[in-house]
Amino acid sequence: MLTRFTVKGFKSLLDTTVELGAVNVFIGANGSGKSNILEALGVMGAAAFGSVEPETLRYRGVRLGLPALYKTSFKGQEPHQAIELDAEAGAAVYRLELDNPIEEPLAKWRIISEKLTVGRTLPLVERQGRGGMIRVIQGQVIGGLSFNEQQSMASRMVDLLEVLRAQQQGEVRQETVEAQELLAALKGYALFAPVTPVLRGTAEDVARDPLGLGGSGLPTAIQSLLNEEERTLGPFDLDEVWEMIEWAQDVSAAQGSEVPLSPAVPTKPIILKFVDRFMDQERNTLSAYDASEGALYVLFMLALASHPKAPRIFAVDNFDQALHPRLAAALTRMVTSHLVREGKRQMLVTTHNPLVLDGLDLRDDRIRLFAVERGRNGATQINRIVLSEELLAEADKGMSLSRLWVMGRLGGVPRSI
């Protein structure tokens, strides 16, 4: 579990730290920098995979950009020379410093410095110099690897940590496990942004297993989670799912030829098939192409939050788009309680829907809400919103989180309207 993430010099994030929980909801005006923090994590994920370049960034949902756009640059200030990223998970800390010249940028970013630390001991692994040799250290040198300056050592550190772990016991061993898990989680991280045409099966996507960034692969993911006998979709009770999607009573993956669909629609070979509870039995099947898009977004979120192969840390930009506010609140409650109960995954989402906030039980420290705003110099500031017991108790007397947000009391609102 990522507990703390610091970004310096990336886009509008001049120097920003967030203390994360299992569920993290970011609210703020358009352009406040919500997506930037999610993308910064994607940059770190690319580095944890091996290199920061268009292919590894795109695979993690990071918008591709030139160094001039990635590096923080405010009026009257020199652009940040390097992007500094710092991720903590319990005792493990992974630090990274990246650079790419603004003039004549390289395809791959240079790794200026890189360090993995656990506990309060010396760095476990540290890159020494720009490129060349890195050494595995823990009080003493126990090995080394050679890298070029555009290749991170993180991708190969997992193997080294495995060797280390085999020699360790007790608390020290646990710390090494945390370091391994941190790197693995970062490597698997992705920023999803579900897109209706992709969910309907009519548009291309950045494919990933089990779900693409825009929602491709949903039919197969849903099929693997469905248990008709138990009436469950992964950890979720299907009856409760259908309570949210009122018009449907069943869903499955089907061949395109098995659903009523115009041959003129260019769709995927496998698509979702819904059964409508209100229509005549002879004509009550619908494909994802014709189904309400709300149902597709609900299924996407449930699959992403529960599929065994889904990333341990994932982000979803505007996860509530196309959802009725009350449906968004109900989905938030369902996904959030699953993630907190399961305790294995971590979710970061952005929303513009006030009612999503009413689906968050902020009494639980694992569920966190952040207001994202631009300071007077334009730099993004991210503040966790913590409410007093007295204010939380007023929620059903007119001071709900949604209302406090819209009113401006929580921050994270446009300033001039």
């Binding site: 503040n383 919103i385 007295e390 204010l391 001071m399 009113m407 401006g408 009391r409 929580l410 001039s416």
Partner: protein, 221 residues
């Protein structure tokens, strides 16, 4: 940093009140509580302020201190004296203070339903409108400066000087045009306060709250 919430009749009042406070203490985070964005009901004007006060008066402390790390140091509640007749608070003007006092009493006792104005709440009633503070800062000086606080529609002076435009009978006050006027009023605060007694009162009361906040934040030696 000071954090100040503002419940006001309209957006142009945000700009004037913010700039006046910022001229005294530059490091302020403003939270614009009212007017809200609803197209129905009474988002703008005194009715919106009244509705907000009636709803939140009994739980002002929870509202102001309940968001940890974003506690309000001060809540400014604004209503122009031009609406005082609606609340039975209209008094002969000049002097402007009589109507302002009567209206403040209505806001505190009837709208907020409190026995007295809480120490961290500043109720302000520019008399008869906040535009008077802006007009009082113009050069060359407004020709009826002596009675500016008691004039209705003083905003027309801003139209006459081509600083604002009138459309469909209403003076338009977009932020891009009005904010610089508010900044000018704040820069010429002493002139404004010399002709607008309620501006002087606002400044004095804000400085008093500021002094208390700063004293509380001073570490004990």
């Amino acid at each position: 940093m000071l954090r100040v919430g503002i419940v006001a009749e309209g957006k142009s009042e945000w700009f004037v009140l913010e700039e006046m406070m910022r001229a005294i203490h530059p490091d302020i985070d403003f939270q614009r509580i009212r007017p809200d964005i609803s197209a129905t009901g009474s988002p703008y004007g005194w009715r919106g302020v009244k509705a907000w006060c009636q709803e939140f008066g009994g739980r002002l402390d929870t509202f102001m201190t309940g968001v940890k790390g974003k506690e309000l140091d001060l809540l400014v509640i604004h209503a122009d004296c031009s609406m005082a007749h609606n609340a039975g608070a209209n008094r002969p003007c000049p002097p402007a203070v009589d109507t302002a006092d009567a209206l403040r009493d209505v806001v505190v006792r009837q709208w907020l339903r409190l026995a007295a104005q809480p120490p961290r709440v500043l109720v302000t009633h520019p008399s008869r409108s906040t535009d008077a503070w802006v007009v009082a800062s113009l050069e060359p000086p407004y020709r009826r400066l002596a009675s500016i606080e008691c004039e209705d529609s003083v905003e027309n002076e801003l139209v006459a000087r081509h600083l604002l435009r009138k459309k469909d009978g209403e003076v338009k006050k977009p932020e891009g045009k009005y904010r610089p006027l508010a900044e000018q009023a704040a820069q010429r605060m002493s002139e404004v306060c010399a002709h607008c007694t309620q501006a002087a009162r606002f400044v004095e009361e804000f400085q008093a709250v500021l002094a208390v906040v700063q004293l509380e934040r001073t570490p004990e030696l």
